[in-house]
């Protein structure tokens, strides 16, 4: 952060770039999920592997029940007050929410997990076992949810055990907690050429097929691409040279080896 400080950058953290348009002056307008609008002559995408989004289990018709009983994240536990809730997963999120919701929030909590062993903190695992032994939660191990159904939103799920038995469990909510995986997200809709979940670039300057948009680091791809931090720095360096020429076509760029003497004077 200190290194970037002399350049007085603006930050809008905790937001996701959603949409790119151009205004009448040919400037990009980038809008985030919170509605922040940035106006700039160029855009550099340094998005790493993409946005980390919840892993969705491969259950038929799952999408039909999203936000109609199926949630991948618990935003407000009060939402589950006096409801029947099924949680899937074996990590700390699954264990912690099972414990929390079982302690006077939800009317019924069922935890479904693929194995008998849990990978969460030992004390959480013990608490879950104690809750199950006391009959305060229903614990289904060696099992996974294979079906969701309901007329008006989620009404029941089907759980299949390793032994092949299928149990129907009536529920108001199912919260699958299987961690996160990187996805390109809205970048995929920006009319950029995409190969294998990465943005194609020209290695001359790491520009994409959309003039003015660059992509650097793990998010891009080109023949011989190596996902190394070293290469990311190199790509960024060449990208900004090209961006400078694009923004200031009539100015010369002075290559300086260091910023210890300040950041002025790059323009010749």
């Amino acid at each position: 952060m200190e290194q970037a400080e002399p350049f007085r950058p603006g930050f809008t953290l905790g937001e996701r770039a959603e949409q790119i348009e151009k205004d009448e002056e040919g400037q990009f307008i980038l809008t985030t999920n919170r509605g922040t609008r940035h106006r700039a002559p160029i855009i550099a995408i340094a998005g790493g592997l993409g946005c980390f989004e919840p892993r969705k289990p491969p259950v038929p018709q799952l999408a039909d029940f999203e936000d109609r009983g199926v949630e991948y994240i618990i935003k407000d536990p009060e939402f589950y007050r006096d409801k029947k809730v099924v949680i899937s997963g074996g990590g700390d999120s699954a264990l912690d929410w099972t414990i929390f919701l079982a302690e006077g929030v939800a009317s019924e909590v069922t935890l479904v997990h693929r194995r008998k062993e849990f990978r969460g903190h030992l004390d959480s695992v013990q608490k879950v076992m104690d809750l199950a032994a006391a009959g305060r939660i229903k614990l289904m191990t060696d099992a996974e949810v294979v079906e969701v159904s309901g007329q008006d939103g989620l009404e029941r799920i089907a759980v299949k055990t390793k032994a092949g038995e299928v149990h129907e469990v009536p529920t108001d909510h199912w919260v699958p907690l299987f961690g996160l995986s990187p996805k390109l997200g809205p970048i995929a809709d920006w009319k950029l050429n995409i190969t294998k979940n990465a943005v194609e670039v020209d290695t001359l300057d790491y520009s994409t097929n959309v003039p003015g948009i660059y992509a650097i680091g793990d998010i891009n791809t080109y023949p011989g691409k190596l996902k190394l931090i070293l290469c990311g720095f190199h790509e960024a360096t060449l990208m900004v040279q090209s961006a400078f020429k694009r923004i200031y076509p009539d100015k010369n760029l002075v290559l300086k080896y260091t910023t210890v003497n300040g950041v002025n004077g790059f323009e010749g």
């Binding site: 990590g91 693929r114 995986s181």
Partner: protein, 109 residues
């Protein structure tokens, strides 16, 4: 087969079988071997058993060292997991694995 070279077979998600020759003296694992053969294996975490993007099924009876807790934990977050599921990055290529048969697991959403 030369010393320190084995042949393994990888069935991709379309059912095509790829016979791959693999060195056993270069510290390679199945994830890396598949990637070097340009098979559709992500290996997002770089082989640290921290994602499950190299999930595969072992379809032969080779004696592969048992799963570590880390590998089991990551398989918990994967889908289409079977008893013979492994993370490719945790299958280290050794001479004993000559003739190994694996199949790439389906990719979830």
């Amino acid at each position: 087969m030369e010393d320190n070279m084995i042949r393994v077979s990888v069935t991709d998600r379309e059912g095509n079988v790829h016979e791959l020759d693999a060195p056993t003296d270069m510290g390679m694992n199945m994830m890396e071997l598949c990637k070097s053969a340009e098979l559709p294996v992500e290996g997002t975490c770089g082989g640290m058993a921290m994602c499950a993007s190299c999930h595969m099924y072992v379809n032969s009876s080779h004696a592969i060292p048992p799963k570590s807790d880390d590998e089991e934990d990551m398989l918990d977050e994967a889908f289409f997991v079977e008893d013979h599921s492994r993370l490719g990055c945790q299958i280290h290529l050794s001479n004993e694995l000559d003739g190994l048969k694996v199949e790439l697991a389906p990719v979830g959403n």
